[in-house]
């Protein structure tokens, strides 16, 4: 049985601890990740039988008010919120560049076609012709600006991926250290290292800002960190697997990917990261940057091809056949660094060549058998043009992944979705030409080292992004503008010009320029299932701007909903674990009073003792 003095002195200690815990709470009111703590007080001794056995109180342990469930949700909400926040920042930045409301690409395209209309009214005027060339030049400069900004954006994305990965690795490193400390503290005694645990959870929370992670708390006090899908261990068994940032397998593509070393092999895990800043950056790159570049590229490719093909139809003021107005799109492939064959992709070409092997302008001036000679008659020439224009409708806003089967054959994939589109590729006749028509484009392997390609050798082509970098006006002389159309003379008077030999109309004819102006109103892009094109060139641009807008708007909505989820979790967490100063003030008074009372017990015990001594001493 404890005496009063012992009970009193224990109670003083107990309440002193209470005061300390309260002070600790007040002191950490501004500490990020701090959970309020509470001294668990219990009574000492037990009543056995009828005898009083009370032995005062003691502090068993100091606990923190903490809910694992809420913490996990908070971490995942934080990942979501930061992802959309990052997406929105990048999205708004790009939106202003590629889809500005005023003075954007569409205005330049419109002005270009307006100038062509003016030239159609006045086809022999060199001044009007000069304006056409100037407008084409303006468009070229504008495209140059855009492609520079897009390239910079790509560089910025690469750098951001590197920086964020560094932040993640630093935090994983600290987690590893704290893990060790927590585990040894847990092994040592009963009191859990509360502040260390708070600090660790704060780091997990910070980690979730950069990428989505799952934290698994083990019984021995260790925490394991996995990627958001719970598959890959970043910190498992306290073994650290750092993120690595390296070029994708298509090195020349200059595209950074996130790698993890899994059983000794570096694997790309970019697709597994869907949260945090890193998730946001990767999503932006895939769903906005790539998509808008490809969609813009489709529009520009269609404009270049349609303008060129209409130009090939005509004849210039000197009576020569129309040549390239813009530089035709032609791009080479990029080889994968994993390829075993010697082909580096530079001999695989993608071009727009809709009448491959039949008629391949720009034409010479006379009818002949060469592919670039004028077709036998005007009707054929028109058919080739119509075929070219309808091929534009097959353009799809995507990049192509080509895989060799090692036996001279190829498989084609959509690089973003990895969908197999080999069935859409049509080999150009004669069989064995090693040229394929796919999505309105020609994939030409005829100069590539196909014989030595190994199975699964891969190549990447980005035809629609290539045109953004290579948009260039070829024509420099106003006399080379093919304003004139086919001669209206019907030599055999059969009422049709289709059987006539291709030849120029008179000097002042404007038919070809009028038709070039018409390209602006013609539906050329995005064919439906019936092969009917559904969008004009400007409509194609508009489509890109709309999908950019949709992305940003969708992100805005996602961000606000994720933010409110986060706020909700945060306020639940705060409500449970946050420090309330008023409450602490009350606790302070409470413990102070109890402390004073306990001290009184000691003093009472003292005075009782004194009384006893006094009686004895008498």
């Amino acid at each position: 049985m404890a005496d009063m003095l012992t009970i009193g002195s224990q109670a003083v200690n107990t309440f002193k601890k209470g005061l300390e815990v309260t002070s600790h709470n007040v002191a950490n009111i501004e500490t990020e990740g701090y959970h309020r703590q509470r001294a668990e007080i219990s009574s000492n001794g037990q009543t056995i039988g009828t005898q009083f056995n009370g032995a005062g109180s003691q502090v068993d342990s100091v606990e923190r008010i903490y809910s694992q469930y809420i913490q996990n949700q908070l971490v995942s909400a934080n990942s979501g919120m930061n992802r959309y926040d990052q997406q929105l920042k990048l999205g708004k930045q790009l939106e202003g560049v590629v889809a500005a409301n005023d003075g954007g690409v569409q205005e330049f395209i419109q002005r270009f076609f307006d100038s062509i209309q003016n030239l159609a009214s006045n086809p022999t005027s060199s001044t009007t012709g000069r304006v056409v060339l100037d407008e084409a030049q303006n468009l070229e400069s504008h495209m140059g600006n855009i492609s520079t900004v897009l390239k910079e954006t790509n560089g910025q994305v690469n750098n951001q991926i590197k920086d964020v990965a560094k932040e993640i690795n630093t935090r994983l490193e600290s987690l590893k250290n704290i893990n060790t400390q927590v585990v040894s503290a847990v092994n040592l005694g009963t009191q859990a290292p509360l502040d260390l645990m708070d600090k660790r959870e704060q780091i997990v929370f910070e980690l979730s800002e950069y990428m989505d992670v799952k934290a698994y708390y083990q019984d021995n006090g260790r925490v394991d960190i996995y990627t958001g899908d719970g598959r890959l261990p970043l910190l498992g068994d306290n073994t650290l697997t750092q993120l690595k940032v390296k070029h994708s397998e298509f090195t020349d593509d200059n595209r950074m990917e996130v790698y993890m070393s899994i059983s000794g092999e570096d694997r790309v895990i970019s697709n597994q990261i869907t949260g945090g800043e890193l998730g946001g950056i990767l999503d932006f790159r895939k769903n906005m940057l790539d998509t808008s570049m490809n969609e813009l590229g489709v529009t520009i490719n269609a404009m270049v091809a349609s303008t060129n093909w209409q130009h090939y139809q005509g004849w210039d003021l000197n009576g020569n056949a129309g040549q390239d107005f813009f530089e035709p799109m032609s791009t080479a492939a990029i080889a994968s660094s994993k390829n075993q064959g010697p082909e580096d992709g530079k001999n695989i070409f993608v071009t727009f060549n809709p009448n491959s092997g039949v008629s391949e302008p720009p034409y010479t001036n006379a009818v002949g058998v060469a592919l670039n000679d004028q077709p036998a008659n005007y009707g054929d020439k028109k058919t080739y043009l119509d075929n070219a224009l309808s091929s534009l409708g097959d353009f799809k806003a995507r990049d192509y992944l080509i895989q060799s089967d090692g036996a001279g054959g190829f498989k084609f994939f959509d690089n973003s979705t990895k969908q197999d589109i080999t069935a859409d590729a049509v080999e150009v006749l004669p069989a064995g030409s090693l040229k394929y028509q796919l999505d309105g484009l020609e994939f030409d392997f005829s100069s590539a080292d196909v014989a030595n390609m190994q199975n699964r050798d891969s190549f990447l082509v980005k035809p629609h992004q290539a045109i953004l970098n290579n948009f260039h006006k070829d024509i420099t002389d106003t006399n080379a503008l093919a304003t004139r159309g086919q001669s209206p003379v019907d030599s055999n008077n059969d009422g049709s010009l289709d059987d006539e030999v291709p030849g120029p109309a008179a000097y002042g004819d404007n038919v070809n320029m009028a038709n070039m102006a018409n390209l602006a109103s013609m539906k050329l892009l995005y064919a439906d299932n019936n092969g009917q094109s559904s969008e004009t060139l400007l409509g194609g641009y508009s489509r890109m701007a709309t999908s950019v807008g949709m992305y940003v708007r969708g992100t805005e909505i996602q961000l606000s909903s994720q933010t409110s989820v986060f706020d909700q979790m945060k306020s639940r967490m705060e409500s449970e674990s946050g420090v309330n100063l008023d409450e602490e003030a009350i606790n302070l008074m409470k413990f102070q009073q109890a402390y004073q009372a306990s001290a009184q017990i000691i003093s009472t015990a003292q005075s009782i003792f004194q009384t006893l001594i006094g009686v004895m001493g008498r």
Partner: protein, 349 residues
């Protein structure tokens, strides 16, 4: 529910943030006057604005084209009117000269005046527009002249599209009309067959069409070219039936002192009728251009209104929202300072 002290702060902070953002957005809409300042403001609205802008731009361009066409047609009209005047004068003279009261020397004197009319007509028929393009040579606008010396029949003239033309026939000159687009084209294509389509207006006519004299219903009324009755031209290469040659023939009769045959006056009549009907058609084209421009303007007003409803800021609405947001922001700021004062610690002394 338990409330932690930092919740007060974060609540105030997020409230103030939100109101400030609302005010920023409204401020942008008010200062630019536009509801859509970037695609994400209204992606589907943007698509509509783009297509409205495009249509309006095209209407503007068609109007510009129409203005150009009208200028060209005016020029042609003036020249044709002058031609008709010249022909009228010649017709009066031919009727006079058929009259027996005029003697040989009168006719020779009149031949001088007819010679002047020939020069006058020739200069009109070979005239150019300010771009130095021949007006009446079809699309062969860069030739020296639309009417050149007759290769087979010296003294006569031939249209460059005729086999008689010096330097050989340019058959394309018998076609060759320039069409200018003044409204939307359903198939967006201009065929090379010289027929144009309903969206376009023809702004040139070739000399063959305007100045060749159509055959009369009674072949006896057609002038037979004989150089004033002195020469018989072999069939096939005789001079063309154009108004210049008619005048040349007329003059030849007068030079010979002979009275011109009645067919000359009737051919002049036919020529005048032909040119007049062409003039009426040109007037019709000008009307079409004007009607089209007026229709385009009306259309554009409708489109502008539509664009306004999509794109422009409703100022009254935006200002009242702005005032509301301003009030809310001020309130939130006041709340913050009030909440800050509340603490039990203030009462522990």
């Amino acid at each position: 529910m338990r409330i932690s002290t930092s919740q007060f702060n974060s609540q105030s902070l997020s409230g103030i943030n939100q109101h400030q953002k609302t005010m920023m957005d409204l401020q942008e809409k008010l200062t630019t006057g536009k509801n859509i300042n970037r695609p994400s403001d209204d992606p589907s609205g943007l698509n509509q604005v783009h297509s409205l802008n495009k249509t309006m731009g095209q209407l503007d361009q068609y109007k510009t084209n129409g203005e150009f066409a009208k200028g060209q047609l005016n020029l042609e009209e003036t020249q044709l009117n002058t031609t008709v005047d010249g022909l009228q004068r010649a017709r009066v003279l031919s009727l006079q000269m058929m009259n027996g009261t005029y003697n040989e020397s009168d006719r020779k004197a009149t031949a001088q005046e007819v010679g002047q009319i020939i020069e006058h007509l020739k200069s009109i028929m070979n005239s150019s527009n300010p771009e130095r393009e021949l007006l009446f040579a079809g699309s062969n606008v860069n030739e020296q002249a639309a009417y050149v010396a007759d290769f087979n029949n010296p003294g006569y003239y031939a249209y460059i599209g005729s086999d008689n033309a010096t330097g050989g026939a340019r058959p394309e000159a018998n076609f060759g009309a320039r069409y200018v687009q003044i409204s939307f084209d359903s198939d967006n294509r201009l065929e090379a067959d010289d027929q144009g389509d309903s969206s376009r207006v023809r702004i040139t006519d070739n000399g063959n069409k305007l100045f060749t004299i159509p055959d009369n219903p009674d072949p006896a009324d057609n002038t037979t070219f004989t150089r004033g009755g002195t020469t018989v031209f072999p069939p096939g290469t005789e001079p063309d039936r154009n108004i210049l040659n008619l005048m040349v023939e007329f003059k030849a009769y007068l030079d010979e002192g002979k009275a011109p045959p009645g067919s000359i006056a009737s051919d002049m009549d036919t020529a005048i009728k032909n040119i007049s009907s062409n003039l009426a058609e040109i007037g019709g084209r000008q009307n079409r251009i004007e009607n089209q421009a007026a229709a385009g303007d009306t259309f554009k007003i409708a489109l502008t209104e539509r664009r306004m409803t999509i794109e422009d800021t409703d100022v009254v609405d935006a200002i009242s929202k702005f005032m509301l947001a301003k009030g809310a922001l001020q309130l939130a700021q006041q709340m913050f300072t009030k909440v800050q004062e509340m603490s039990l610690f203030n009462y522990i002394r």
